[in-house]
């Protein structure tokens, strides 16, 4: 609880050119809040660029778990003009903007990376308010809305810092990010000792760096107290009493850790945003202890392309290794032939698909859920495949592990579909519970060994034996006495190519039976989850990272004494037909997706004939916030809303 007794919920934003330490600044702020026992929700927005382009980071700190970012922030900390210009409209009245004095009055044209459209819009907006097209105009505009704008003379603080520490200005200037963070926390009257602790966590063992940054915090707090007029600023950030142990993870990390827990022993990948971070995180944590005191590892192989990544993973899977690959749209497109091969050869294989804006290169670092139908239909021909989706960093972990169990049990490809928003969203959560991670390897044949004194005395092993369940006990390459063939061609039970019509029918039917089995066996709560008031008529159906925004909407509606429920679909293929009964009472049924055409809605209609009353979509590359979704839902509740609502925000 905050000092005023209300649940505190502070949204803080910082931004700057890529490569300028924005992530470090955000991490220091996050660590400070985390050490104070607060729950965090962070998100990172960035360009497909190495240095210079604008990226920004949102941290939402609260006493309660938050599941979505806020478009309207309480504090904006900037280092340069572009960040100020892009985000000054996002700060709420009563909130604050921190900016360096050197950027107080520069023309719009200085922000050369601002899109022409953006520049023109800001200029027109400022002109309509009778303000000049400069940062001064933007600051004045914010002030007019009741935003407190704090001009900071960073050079002065850095000079003081250099003097205090007896180091050159250039050295002291390295603490600029810490200074900016500390000025914001000082304005928020947040405990400075906690910020100092955060620095120790940020640079463990690097005492010189810590000492300099600790002094920077001291100077920033003193400067804030002496130079800034904080009257009128309404937000405070207090430490929480919670001492529960928390970890902070993002989606890429959650999946990587889930794979480690699930027994992944080999991952192949080709670099592609926003999937790469998963594989590089695995590689950085490739060796780990086992719970019985042994050593574990995962072999990560960077391949020459995604075709190699999927086929290498398939080859590894044939030996019994739990293997997987991770990619995004363009890479997934290259993988589809390999996915079909794994399908017809009944190879347990996990493919993690991090969606981004498509088609083609699209928007490599922006959010989109436009690959759902592609994932469900990936590969030519008919073959069984499982597609699962996770809504947050907790599910992402357990689903990543469970994907291997599905793959082994049903001997086929499992596509784990996620999105960019989830990949770069970080949350504080309790550490994952490894006791919950079961390893189920499915049906594996016993080695026949020598028969008739010959290695293959009984002839080739029937790898693709016709069975009632459709599952044929699989052999692992190298098992003594079980030699047989595999082929991307239609094949006999021994794996020899055949074009026989009867065998073809029987093989197609055998493989299809596995999907019937999966549909019957997989528990309903792994297929979809219902949140909120289960009896509510207003039903918001979604999938993937939008879950967080919908959960926030449910909370807000509850506060308005309105009831609603969320149906979060997690299993896409085989399609959960149990949804039909659940959706019968939906009135209205609203489907929320981050894509243009409403791909889940299409899938639902194809499978069940059900069509939603309203579709809310967003396809500008940015994740849906709880705030904007609430506005759309309220519009629907009030009646008269269009059947298709597009969420738009020009300032993201």
């Amino acid at each position: 609880m905050g000092s005023n007794g209300k649940i505190q919920d502070i949204a803080w934003r910082t931004g700057g050119p890529q490569g300028s330490g924005i992530d470090t600044a955000a991490l220091i702020f996050s660590r400070s809040c985390g050490l104070a026992g607060l729950e965090l929700f962070g998100r990172r927005e960035y360009y497909s660029n190495i240095m210079g382009r604008h990226s920004y980071y949102d941290v939402r700190a609260s006493d309660a778990v938050q599941t979505s970012h806020r478009d309207v922030v309480d504090m904006l900390t900037t280092f340069e003009a572009e960040t100020l210009l892009r985000h000054y409209t996002a700060v709420c009245p009563g909130g604050a903007i921190v900016y360096p004095n050197t950027e107080a009055d520069v023309p719009l044209s200085i922000a050369t990376f601002l899109d022409e459209r953006f520049t023109a819009d800001i200029a027109a907006e400022l002109e309509s308010q009778g303000l000049p097209p400069t940062t001064a105009g933007a600051i004045e505009s914010a002030r007019a809305r009741g935003v407190l704008c704090y001009e900071i003379n960073f050079d002065e603080i850095i000079n003081d810092l250099a003097e205090t520490l007896g180091v050159p200005y250039k050295i002291a200037a390295r603490a600029r990010n810490t200074l900016a963070v500390a000025v914001s926390t000082a304005i928020l009257e947040f405990r400075r000792d906690i910020v100092k602790q955060a620095l120790e966590k940020q640079w463990p063992g690097r005492q010189k760096i810590i000492d300099m940054n600790v002094e920077a915090v001291e100077q920033a707090y003193n400067y804030t107290r002496e130079k800034l007029d904080l009257s009128g600023f309404i937000f405070r950030l207090d430490a929480s009493e919670s001492t529960d142990k928390r970890i902070m993870v993002n989606g890429n990390q959650a999946v990587a850790l889930g794979k480690l827990a699930g027994g992944l022993t080999m991952q192949s990948y080709y670099p592609i945003s926003p999937a790469t971070d998963e594989s590089t995180y695995l590689e950085a944590h490739a060796e780990f202890p086992t719970r019985d005191g042994g050593e574990g590892y995962v072999l990560v192989v960077q391949t020459e392309d995604e075709i190699s990544a999927i086929t290498m993973a398939a080859g590894a899977a044939l030996t019994g290794a739990r293997s997987s690959t991770a990619t995004s749209g363009p890479g997934f497109a290259l993988m589809t032939e390999g996915i079909g091969w794994a399908g017809i050869n009944e190879v347990p294989l996990v493919v993690t698909l991090w969606q981004r804006g498509g088609p083609s290169t699209g928007m490599p670092t922006r959010n989109d859920q436009g690959d759902l139908l592609f994932a469900c239909n990936a590969g030519h021909g008919d073959f069984p495949k499982i597609v699962i989706s996770s809504g947050d960093v907790i599910e992402a972990f357990y689903d990543a592990a469970q994907a291997f169990n599905y793959a082994d049990r049903y001997q086929t490809v499992v596509v784990h579909i996620l999105d960019k928003a989830l990949s770069s969203q970080s949350r504080t959560i309790p550490p994952y519970d490894l006791d919950q991670v079961k390893i189920e390897r499915g049906e594996i044949a016993e080695p026949r060994g020598l028969t008739d004194g010959k290695p293959n005395g009984e002839g080739a092993f029937h790898r693709f034996a016709f069975t009632e369940s459709g599952i044929s006990p699989r052999t692992l390459l190298g098992q003594p006495g079980n030699a047989h063939w595999m082929t991307g061609g239609e094949h006999t039970p021994q794996g020899r190519v055949t074009e026989d019509p009867i065998i073809r029918e029987k093989m197609m039917e055998k493989r299809a039976r596995k999907m019937e089995l999966a549909a019957a066996e997989i528990p309903v709560d792994e297929k979809f989850k219902v949140f909120g008031d289960r009896e509510a008529d207003l039903t918001i159906l979604t999938w993937g990272s939008n879950k967080g925004a919908v959960l926030e909407v449910l909370d807000k509606l509850e506060a308005q004494d309105a009831s609603a429920r969320l149906v979060q679909v997690r299993l896409m293929v085989p399609f959960p037909m149990e949804l039909v009964a659940v959706l019968e009472s939906a009135k209205p049924l609203v489907i929320v997706e981050s894509n243009f055409s409403g791909q889940f809605a299409q899938l639902l209609r194809q499978q069940t004939g059900i069509t939603p009353d309203h579709q809310i979509v967003k396809y500008n590359g940015r994740p849906i916030s709880g705030e904007e979704l609430l506005r759309a839902i309220n519009e629907i509740r009030e009646g008269g809303a269009d059947s298709r609502i597009v969420l738009r925000n020009p300032y993201q």
């Binding site: 902070m248 072999l299 192989v301 290794a321 991670v437």
Partner: protein, 325 residues
């Protein structure tokens, strides 16, 4: 590196299969498959420990005609499949087989990058300069200007020199054989398999159906003024072995010899071991150097669950790293 066992118990027929073979009569593939079966028998390999990985095309069917584990993959992709198999279970003897279109056309990217890794396996390329199964189009090894019988016009794309490409890509063993010199092929295959790294064996072969230029008679030099086989062993004084720890000067000299020999074509096409580079580490060793436990238990063999079927993975250390308070 798979070494021969001391007392081979198996005969080539133990590696033969009971089902019929659908290659055209007189196909060069028959010689290669015979040589493979004989090599496995001679080396005393256990059929259950051998994995034949094929691409697509006539040659890609090679795994069907060998009584071991056989994996018929995708067009151009035998090498990454084979790499995945070998890295996940290094105890297996892995042989990739495919045609020149498969390996040097659609699969050229894998060919080059396999060389960078030097995984311990053997790649046998069935080189007949045409796409047989799709009825005789020009393959990447068909010299420019030639017009095999399916072509409407002479070939206007340059040919790839596969030995040079293998060399530039980093293959550490490079050899060339001829499909109708089975005795020599068996010797080459054994050396390729025994080499501790990635071996490239280029096997020249006639396609009696579509390549009416590089025929059995052509390879036998029947058209030459002085009739003698074009495919003849490398000169006796040629030595393509680069020893471990060889000096830069020695390596350079061998490379020069290699380049000169790899360009021989026409009246004399040398067969034999062009290069055996023992100075480059194999990928598996590079992995073990980075992660010693890889050498103790393969990805296929590493136990991942405890007796109750719960994960063995411990993440406490990583949770500590991610701890926020």
């Amino acid at each position: 590196m798979t070494t021969a066992t001391e007392t081979p118990k198996l005969k080539a027929k133990d590696f033969q299969v009971p089902h019929p073979n659908d290659w055209c009569p007189g196909c060069g593939d028959f010689g290669i498959i015979n040589a493979i079966q004989q090599t496995f028998a001679r080396m005393g390999l256990d059929p259950s420990s051998v994995v034949m990985v094929g691409g697509i095309g006539c040659s890609g069917k090679a795994p069907y005609y060998v009584g071991s584990y056989g994996v018929h993959t995708l067009h151009g992709r035998p090498l990454p499949f084979a790499t995945g198999i070998k890295l996940a279970n290094p105890e297996l003897t892995v042989i990739a087989a495919g045609g020149d279109g498969d390996g040097l056309g659609i699969g050229a990217g894998h060919f080059v990058n396999a060389g960078r890794r030097n995984v311990d396996m053997t790649y046998v390329l069935f080189n007949n300069a045409v796409y047989g199964l799709t009825k005789g189009q020009a393959a990447p090894t068909l010299p420019m200007g030639l017009q095999t019988k399916s072509l409407a016009e002479p070939n206007i794309q340059m040919e790839i020199n596969p030995l040079m490409l293998a060399f530039a890509s980093g293959f550490t063993w490079i050899g060339r054989g001829y499909s109708y010199n089975i005795k020599e092929l068996v010797g080459l295959m054994q050396r390729a398999i025994e080499h501790p790294g990635l071996a490239y064996l280029d096997v020249l072969q006639p396609c009696p159906t579509y390549n009416n230029i590089h025929t059995k008679e052509w390879f036998a030099g029947k058209d030459l003024e002085e009739v003698r086989p074009r495919v003849r062993p490398l000169p006796e004084d040629y030595d393509g072995i680069i020893e471990q720890g060889a000096s830069e000067e020695d390596v350079f000299a061998k490379m020069n010899d290699f380049i000169a020999m790899a360009h021989e074509w026409g009246d004399y096409i040398p067969t034999g071991v062009y290069l055996e580079n023992r100075s480059v580490s194999k990928f598996e060793d590079r992995i073990s150097n980075r992660m010693p436990s890889y050498a103790d238990a393969s990805p296929a063999g590493r136990p991942i669950a405890d007796a109750d079927g719960i994960t063995r993975t411990e993440l406490a250390r990583i949770f500590e790293e991610l701890a926020i308070n």
